[in-house]
Symmetry: C2
Subunit: 433 residues, 2 copies
């Protein structure tokens, strides 16, 4: 009786899971070096938790059900509500709070390129400070993770500020703000004519619509922020005040000295709870969906618990990231290239086991034949499995306390003392795994 | 509107999640050094997958439901069926296959000490070889993980062999094997009198019952295996043949030179699919449930796919392991003891950011104040948050390319060049995190 896996889910073999683990580990380490602490939360929550901030669209995409105890529950469709629950249920946590998490997330959506029904999501948030420094740090963390993943030249982070956008719309006399945000959010999915038409249909004047088009059609360097807005939109005191915060954030981001960060007025982020800066990271070649997205959401803690706790954070799924890393040639790891296969004669088992133990204690991967047979059969089996290094232990090696190392790639072989072998082998260890 | 978490689930703050991550990382690294590759599989599977090997008891403890597509699905109640699905769906994987995984597992059971409705489970399996070497290796892996976790003196692994047990029961004229296995499995939950009574009620003779009691009542050294069985049960050729495999496995385990491994005839493992060796690791003080359990299950792949693939493996949950590590004082990690809090004056922001970047690139945790205010306020805030090290960057430090390091624990302070500071700080990094 054969049972398949469910549509939109993944079976992950070591050739997929090992580079994925490396990717996660780089993200985790980067967050930890910034002082972010790892949290985790249930993969199952009351459905009510998502009724607070999310619309029907999300609720219709959940894996939700009634459990044996009659609870209306759902498999985690996003991380933020649980994270905020952790935060608001304890009063003793010194702020600012820097947290990251790496849960699985489930959405009942139609699977397509870059989107599955189950994926891992890396999340990072800073709670308790509403400053340009906090906004800049979270963006710098996102950028540092992508850079540490070797994607330095493959991504750009595009930032915008809901407060600035709102100010611009007000300045342009647009009334239907929420609706216009939705239209801008879909800018890259529509033609320019459709975009203008949609704006006009929603009460935006022809002049304002063409200003908005000019504003959102291409991102620009963060240093050009003030100038671009004066040029395209115009000048006013209210507008300048609203620009102040984003300008400060951009200044700090520039001091971080990281490239790849642009201002992009087409970045709105669908979810209405964002209250300030919003940002997304994009593949520069435009091949994939956005790599990560986030922003400031200062009202959620209050909605959930009555406590006023400012917050800024982002989420990054592993599906698009994997596609990008594969394209950029950053996805490779073959454990077999770093593994020593120990082939031994029955009489030398004890010495072989000691050798294996010592090798592993030094951080080098060592596998042993599990169906002892003639030495040459063991060697052939290791070769056919695609391993690179073979260690041969016969009576001679046992007596002398040595090992014979065969490198199948270089077609070389030499006898070494155990210690000198280990010191050489440590150099071949892929240390970033 | 406040929404609580669901009963039997955990919210995990950094003080719980950081030592847990360290624990997982030691288990993962140990498995990798043995050549095990990481796999992952969906957290949601068709309920049918568990109808093959598991009884109604498991099916009644699942978080199962019908999804929006009408599928009868369940949140993963155990890892083995998914692992075997991965194995049997591809024919190109060279054997032996060594795999490990670390999924979350869900069971709708009454929460109690050491048992929750959601937990992480570390799993390791060897497929494709049915040899004493494979049995010994999987047990050695289990023991090595616990030893590397610092639990060397806190656990024992108890092994038994279903084939031997079956032989002994046959030798003793017991017919109701499955039922008697269940009684033995519950030995430590019954009194001796109850145990004997249950055996007698199930057709075991008085003499055989008292032999069985003697056999299961205490574990013994693996070297004593043959002697103990002759003494307690008796001698026969069939019995010796059946003992042969376990004896060989014990010989190899002894050669591994690891202590903490005993033969224990009370270890049966509830699940009926085990076909050879079975084992569990116990807290030596007997305070907790078993730490891990596993065994050989050579028929599952065939039941699931018609392919004959021998298998041996184990699963280890994180709940009991955490209790044990806490008791043994191996659970501590305080990130704040390894963090450098960078306090700076506004004018030195750019230098401060460069310093932070350089520190992090060297693997040292660095956090920055996110609400810049006077230097002394920043320092007081870092102190009140419980951090140990503070880095002060004023105009002087900026000009000279130095940092002033204050150690609040040692009440000491000194100015260092950035390079010498970094080289000192790297020594304080807790490298095994």
């Amino acid at each position: 009786m054969k049972v398949e896996r469910i549509k939109g889910f993944r079976d992950q073999y070591p050739e997929e899971m090992e580079p994925r683990k490396k990717m996660f580990s780089i993200a985790e380490n980067t967050a930890e070096l910034f002082g972010f602490g790892r949290i985790d939360f249930p993969s199952l929550e009351y459905l009510d938790l998502y009724r607070i901030k999310s619309g029907d669209e999300l609720l219709n995409q959940t894996f939700s059900f009634t459990d044996r105890g009659g609870r209306e529950v759902t498999m985690l469709p996003e991380a933020t509500p649980s994270t905020v629950r952790l935060l608001t249920s304890r009063k003793d946590i010194p702020r600012p709070v820097r947290w990251y998490s790496l849960p699985k997330i489930w959405r009942y959506e139609e699977p397509q390129s870059g989107r599955l029904r189950e994926h891992f999501q890396f999340n990072a948030d800073i709670f308790g400070v509403d400053t340009p420094e906090a906004d800049a740090e979270i963006i710098n963390l996102a950028g540092s993770i992508l850079t540490n993943l070797g994607l330095g030249s493959a991504f750009s982070i595009h930032i915008n500020d809901r407060v600035v956008m709102d100010g611009i719309l007000k300045y342009l006399g647009v009334e239907n703000t929420e609706r216009v945000f939705t239209i801008i959010d879909r800018f890259h999915k529509t033609t320019r004519d459709e975009f203008l038409l949609l704006l006009r249909e929603n009460g935006v004047s022809e002049k304002s619509a063409s200003i908005l088009l000019k504003l959102v059609e291409s991102p620009f360097e963060i240093g050009e922020l003030g100038g671009k807005i004066s040029d395209i939109v115009g000048k006013s005191e209210t507008l300048s005040e609203r620009l102040d915060r984003l300008t400060k954030t951009c200044d700090i981001i520039r001091k971080y000295g990281k490239a790849n960060i642009m201002v992009d007025f087409s970045v709105i982020r669908g979810i209405s709870y964002y209250t300030g800066i919003v940002f997304e990271a994009f593949d520069r070649q435009g091949e994939f969906r956005s790599i990560l997205g986030g922003g400031r959401y200062d009202n959620l803690a209050s909605l959930m618990s009555g406590q006023e706790i400012p917050a800024v954070g982002f989420g990054m799924g592993d599906v698009v990231l994997e596609l990008l890393m594969r394209r950029e040639g950053k996805w490779g790891y073959n454990r077999k290239d770093y593994t020593y296969v120990l082939c031994f004669m029955g009489e030398t088992l004890q010495y072989a086991l000691e050798v294996a133990d010592k090798i592993r204690k030094n951080g080098v991967i060592c596998v042993m034949d599990l169906s002892p047979r003639g030495l040459s059969k063991q060697i052939r089996s290791a070769e056919s499995q695609g391993f690179r290094y073979i260690l041969i232990i016969g009576e001679k090696e046992k007596e002398r306390g040595t090992v014979t190392v065969r490198d199948l790639k270089e077609s070389s072989q030499s006898e070494k003392t155990l210690d000198s072998f280990i010191s050489d082998a440590k150099k071949t260890v892929k240390s970033d795994i």
